[in-house]
Structure formats: structure tokens, C-alpha cells
């Protein structure tokens, strides 16, 4: 029997982010599975009423909220204070929240203040014999653990893409305001803006159907003894545009940029996939001129269908890391792929 608090924050437009609605599904499921449990909702943001109305049918016994201009933006000092106040008002034993950048930064601090335990990057939740168990990865997607904790409160930060988006009718929700006053010390930081990457190619777009990964081979000497970086740029940008794919990269290719070598102008570290980069969740991934070494491929853990084009029949992709490996010259293959995509 748990007192469950589902905690979320609004976005700039007052709505809840997708991962928050996914996490609400998780919270409702847990409340059902652990019999006798109740669920409360806690919301943080500038104006939280629209978000509260949107989830009015979630079955929450109470909706607590901290709102106002001080809580519009993602700032550690104010976010920790707001979440702490809601958690205290709720007296929750389980706190379930989405792993947004804002909460990933703030909630570990809240856990410390509440003398709570916390787990992040949760990729699965189940109840076995009345015990709540979570799944999360260790050593950067290299092993997966199932674990539980007896200490309470227990905070759970749930990753995106794990639960279905909650759907329910809008209503008129009553929000119980929790008042929070900020000290001067908690306002030393001001958010001054948001910067988008300058070009489409400079970041991994999570909404694309295809992740196109470029490796260092694109800038290496080719069989004719020359490098062909310009041609590589044209082929890659062509594919991204025509297939509406998102661009990922290996570390080697990214590092060449940092070291000032002649490289693909649009690649930045935001494209890097792998152990020290991103772990994207696209349904399909196509790797080209990338060797498929373990530190890179751990970043592919959540990519369902994987294909690779490489000159080397013994590259990493051949060792059970891709569904299909085409042993061929990526320059020739991608040129043809672009032509075919153009035709239809």
C-alpha cells in the first residue's frame, strides 16, 4: 500500500510534455497493481490549470500545485524548493516523475532533502508478488538490472518511450495551491534563453523514422588514395533531406572536428551516438563508414532495425550487431540510394 505522488512540470505553452503523459500511465498502473494505494498529482509551472484540466480524469485523489512566474523556467534552486514542498504536502511514499532535463537536474537534490532514495533512467516497472521492481541499465547499456528498494520515500524518474501516452477526457480540476517563497540565494540563476542548433543536421532528431549514422570512414582516404569530404557532405545531406532522416555520428568523426581536421562541416558532438554520446530510439538505423565498435554500438541499444554499409566484411556490424551488413563502398551505394529516392 503506497501513497503515490505523480509529479510533473509544464512546458512553456502550459501543456505537459509527452514523457510526462507516458509517466502518468506508469503511475496509474502502479497504483492499480499495488492494491490499496492512492495517487496524488503534483504540478509545477507558471500556469498549471490547463495541465491539471487535461489530466482531470486520471483518478488522482488530489492535485497539488506550485505556480507563478518564479516557476516558469527550469532552474535548480526554485525547482528543488517547489518539488520538495509538494512532496512534503503529499507525504508520499513513492514519487514518480518523467525524466525531462528539468527534473533530471532537480529531483536528485529533492531526494537528498527528503532523505529519499532515487532511481533514474527507468526503462521498465513491474510488480511481482506485491513488490514494486524497476529495470534500469548499468555500464551504459551494457547490462540490465531488475531491482527494488525497501526505503521510502522512493523517487522514480522514468525515461521516455517506455510507457504509452496517457489518454483521457479533459475536465475541470481543482488544484490545491502549495505556496513556496524563494530566497535570494535561490534566484541567483536566471534563464536567459534557449538556443537551437543552427542546422537541421547538427542534432539527433528523435521524431525521425530513420537514424543515419556517419562514421569516420567518410573522411578517410579512399581506394584512389584521396579523401572526398566534399562529396561525402553532399551525399549525407542529400540522404538526410530526401529520407527525412536524423543524423548520428561516431565519436571518431566528431573528434576530428574538435581537433581541427578537414571534416564534415555540419557534424558536432550533439550527433555522437554511443557510450559517451546519445542512445537514440529510432525505429531504424543505417550506419555508413562506421566500424561498429562496441563503445559506439551500445548507443544503438534501442534502435530496432539496424543495417550497415562498410567495406570491411569483418567489421563490428558483422559480429551480430546489425541485421544486415552490406559489404560495399558507401560513396557508391549512397549515391545510388539518393538517385532512387529522387525518382520516386
Amino acid at each position: 500500500m503506497e501513497k503515490i505522488l505523480y509529479l510533473a512540470h509544464t512546458q512553456q505553452d502550459g501543456t505537459l510534455p509527452k514523457v510526462a503523459l507516458e509517466t502518468l500511465s506508469a503511475a496509474i498502473q502502479i497504483t492499480k497493481d499495488l492494491s490499496g494505494s492512492t495517487m496524488m498529482v503534483g504540478l509545477i509551472g507558471q500556469n498549471i490549470q490547463p495541465a491539471a484540466d487535461a489530466i482531470a480524469a486520471s483518478g488522482a485523489s488530489k492535485i497539488l500545485g506550485v505556480s507563478g512566474a518564479d516557476f516558469a523556467q527550469s532552474r535548480y534552486g526554485s525547482d528543488v524548493k517547489a518539488a520538495e514542498a509538494i512532496a512534503n504536502a503529499a507525504g508520499a511514499t513513492l514519487i514518480i516523475a518523467p525524466a525531462t532535463s528539468r527534473f533530471s537536474r532537480a529531483l536528485p537534490g529533492v531526494a537528498f532533502r527528503l532523505k529519499a532514495v532515487i532511481d533514474t533512467h527507468i526503462s521498465g516497472i513491474q510488480t511481482t508478488g506485491g513488490t514494486l521492481q524497476i529495470q534500469r541499465w548499468y555500464y551504459r547499456q551494457r547490462m540490465i538490472a531488475t531491482l527494488s528498494r525497501t526505503a521510502r520515500p522512493w523517487m522514480l524518474l522514468v525515461d521516455s518511450g517506455v510507457f504509452p501516452v496517457w489518454q483521457g477526457a479533459k475536465g475541470t480540476a481543482k488544484v490545491e495551491a502549495v505556496s513556496v517563497a524563494l530566497s535570494e540565494k535561490e534566484q541567483r540563476t536566471r534563464v536567459t534563453g534557449v538556443e537551437a542548433p543552427s542546422a537541421d543536421a547538427q542534432t539527433i532528431r528523435p521524431d525521425a523514422a530513420l537514424l543515419f549514422v556517419a562514421g569516420a570512414g567518410w573522411t578517410k582516404k579512399q581506394p584512389d588514395g584521396q579523401t572526398h569530404s566534399k562529396e561525402a557532405e553532399t551525399l549525407i545531406l542529400g540522404l538526410l533531406h530526401k529520407a527525412k532522416a536524423s543524423l548520428g555520428s561516431s565519436k571518431s568523426l566528431v573528434d576530428q572536428g574538435a581537433e581541427g581536421e578537414a571534416v564534415l562541416s555540419f557534424i558536432s558532438h550533439l550527433n555522437q551516438v554511443g557510450q559517451t554520446g546519445a542512445t537514440p530510439r529510432h525505429p531504424k538505423g543505417l550506419a555508413t563508414c562506421c566500424h561498429g565498435e562496441e563503445p559506439h554500438v551500445v548507443g544503438w541499444r534501442f534502435i530496432n532495425e539496424r543495417r550497415a554499409v562498410n567495406l570491411d566484411a569483418n567489421c563490428g556490424w558483422a559480429q551480430g550487431k546489425a541485421d544486415v551488413l552490406y559489404v560495399a563502398d558507401a560513396f557508391q551505394v549512397m549515391k545510388k540510394v539518393n538517385e532512387l529516392l529522387d525518382k520516386s
Binding site: 528539468r102 540490465i144 558532438h269 559517451t276 559480429q319
Partner: protein, 269 residues
């Protein structure tokens, strides 16, 4: 105006990513097979934090950089052979496990109390750096808990840039959703930052820096205190390697045309 900072970087070792890892059941919970024998590297994001700290120190004369590491003493000693040549720092060593299966709260407690004990540390000039998350536990929770213990209320996570402004304030770029950056302005020290990759290349080895660092590294290793960490907070039901092996179909000696057709059909399917 230039300010001299006291920068404390928290970072330890993780298994070399090229090693194959295998989980086993140890006396106090899950562990890695042959953990003590596995070659290790400085935790990558913490490494970037160290390079950022050194770069800041270069531009702000009088700045001191400390590296606080919790890990098995013998392995930290090995790690120092490579790290010491990179950038100047003073080493603070905590002898204990570097396992990803530990609770971050225990790790944060040990690190925060080690920071508190650094002689002559000026908390008004304090910047505590660490990685966005570790490559072992990958939780991204330790730095915030250190901040709470040190009473620091400005914390940034996934930062790629810190610029000291002419008025002494900081401009910080943090990674947020959708490949975007949030830009914040903070009045100044003290702050805590969990760094992502930043924008600096790994510094080349410099034997002179290595020699200078060794003067503090050896004594730090010698007087390293064992860190008492509780291991009973988490009940692990299982730790497994993912079933990731696929039946790779290898397409060889096939005309480019055919390969391209197949790829296009697959993209569209």
C-alpha cells in the same frame, strides 16, 4: 576583472569501454567479473570536466584545481599514470569501490565530506565539477546531492560551456530536449556543474605536468582513507547481459544498384 577559483572535479574510473563486461554476484551485491583486473579509464564525462577546469584555471590565474576520486586505491594509482600528464591538479584520493551498483547517495556523501576536508578551500570561490552522469551507474544524481551537502543552490547538468563574463557572472549552456541548449546566467561562485562533453579536445600528454602532479598524487594515495559505503540500500533481483546478438545477414559481391534498391525499399517499408 579576473577571479581566481577553487575548482573541485569529482571523477573516478570506469572499465575501458572496449572490454567485455560480465556481471557476477559478489559478497555485497552485483559486481563485475574480474573487476580488479579490468583495464580502466577516467570516467569520460568527468574527464571533460577536468579538462574544462584546467582550461578555466589557465585563464584565471591563481585558480586551483583539485581532482577528488573514489575508487580502489591500486587502480586509481594506475589511472593516475595516464591522467597526471594531461593537466595540472592536486589529487584527493578516497579508497573504496568504484562500482556502478553502489547507491549514488553513499558516493555523494563520501565525496562531499572529502571536499569539506580540503585544507584552505574557499567556498565563496568554489566550483564543483563532475560528469553529466557516470559511465558505470549512469544515474546523473551524484552532483546534485553533493551540492545539497555543501549548501550550493546553483546546479547545472549536461553543460557544454561555461563563460565567465566581465562582471564575474557565469553564462552556462546546458543540454535540454530536442538537441537544444538552455542558456542561464548565474551570479557567480559557488556552483555545481555536471559536464557533458564540452568543446575542448583532450589535452596532449605533458611529462612536466605529470612530474609536478606526482608530487601530490603519491602522498594522496598513501594517506587515502578507506571510505565506508553502505551497500544494503538496493535489492537487486537480477543483473543480466542483454540478448543483443543478432543474426547478421552479410550481403557481399552484390552490385551497388541492387544494394541501393534494397536499402530504399527498407527505408520506405
Amino acid at each position: 576583472m579576473t577571479t581566481a577559483f577553487n575548482i573541485v572535479v569529482c571523477g573516478s574510473l570506469v572499465p575501458d569501454p572496449l572490454q567485455t563486461l560480465e556481471p557476477i554476484q559478489g559478497p555485497t551485491g552485483p559486481a563485475l567479473k574480474n573487476e580488479m583486473m579490468l583495464p580502466s579509464v577516467l570516467d569520460p564525462w568527468a574527464g571533460h570536466a577536468l579538462f574544462e577546469a584546467a582550461n578555466l584555471a589557465k585563464h584565471h590565474p591563481g585558480t586551483k584545481v583539485y581532482l577528488v576520486s573514489l575508487g580502489p586505491k591500486a587502480k586509481l594509482q594506475q589511472l593516475m599514470m595516464t591522467i597526471a600528464q594531461k593537466v595540472p591538479f592536486e589529487f584527493v584520493c578516497l579508497d573504496g569501490p568504484a562500482s556502478g551498483f553502489l547507491d549514488s547517495r553513499e558516493v555523494a556523501k563520501a565525496l562531499a565530506s572529502a571536499i569539506e576536508k580540503i585544507p584552505g578551500l574557499d567556498k565563496t570561490k568554489l566550483l564543483v565539477f563532475g560528469g553529466y552522469s557516470s559511465a558505470s551507474r549512469d544515474a546523473g544524481t551524484t552532483m546534485q546531492m553533493i551540492a545539497e551537502q555543501l549548501g550550493i543552490s546553483d546546479v547545472f547538468l549536461g553543460a557544454d560551456e561555461l563563460k565567465v563574463q566581465p562582471d564575474g557572472s557565469f553564462r552556462i549552456m546546458e543540454r535540454i530536449e530536442g538537441g537544444q541548449y538552455q542558456i542561464s546566467s548565474c551570479a557567480g561562485a559557488p556552483i555545481v556543474i555536471g559536464w557533458a562533453t564540452g568543446n575542448l579536445p583532450e589535452p596532449p600528454n605533458n611529462p612536466q605536468v605529470g612530474m609536478a602532479n606526482m608530487r601530490t598524487i603519491m602522498p594522496a594515495l598513501q594517506k587515502a582513507q578507506p571510505a565506508a559505503l553502505k551497500t544494503d540500500g538496493i535489492q537487486y533481483a537480477s543483473v543480466q547481459l542483454p540478448q543483443q546478438q543478432r543474426q547478421t545477414k552479410i550481403v557481399k559481391d552484390t552490385p551497388v544498384e541492387e544494394i541501393a534498391k534494397e536499402i530504399v525499399a527498407w527505408i520506405r517499408s
